[in-house]
Symmetry: C2
Subunit: 111 residues, 2 copies
């Protein structure tokens, strides 16, 4: 039996959480579906929770990560801003690097 090492990372702004794994997958789902409600459904998350998460992210980010519209064709929608996309990319890159780093660390240790 071997030990494995796991991690969760998150980005903070001003002492408050900005982005973690859950918010990242929500943002990605919004990018794919073009809608906050569809994104929530695809993640088996309530609309309210999804909305609250996005609201918190927009409040802390230097620039909003999504834009929304109410009414009109399809009832409205949401889409990622360029800044949102770059945040996703940065987060995922760092996260993968972190996993690799930790795997190396645990391999160098014998317990």
């Amino acid at each position: 039996m071997r030990y494995t090492i796991k991690s969760r990372i998150w980005i903070e702004a001003d002492g408050h959480i900005l982005l973690g794994e859950g918010r990242i997958s929500l943002l990605k789902a919004i990018g794919q579906t073009g809608s906050l409600s569809k994104a929530a459904k695809s993640l088996n998350m309530s609309y309210k929770k999804a909305w609250s998460l996005i609201d918190a992210v927009n409040a802390r980010a230097k620039t909003p990560v999504i834009t929304t519209s109410i009414g009109g064709k399809g009832g409205g929608g949401a889409e990622l801003t360029d800044y949102g996309k770059s945040l996703i990319n940065a987060f995922e890159t760092i996260n993968k690097n972190c996993w690799k780093f930790l795997d190396k660390q645990i391999a160098e240790t014998q317990l």
Copy 2:
């Protein structure tokens, strides 16, 4: 305003959590106090919770991390095994390295 990046790591054995930051600080408190109940008190944690945590760790670790005695001088007590000490050391080293690594990663990114 700058973004900061934070992390939590934990060690798993057999798909179940073995050690995280909370359990590590409990183990350290046991090493310092020589008693599970004193350790719990020093961390403002109920005895029951502390005992459950330690029980879970001992169940998953390759070798017990503490030894306990009931009755006798002082009513009994608990102390770290050598294996427990080495687990603490390994965890804390890897954790610090992880923090440094992530700080470097976020510094290389502009968001």
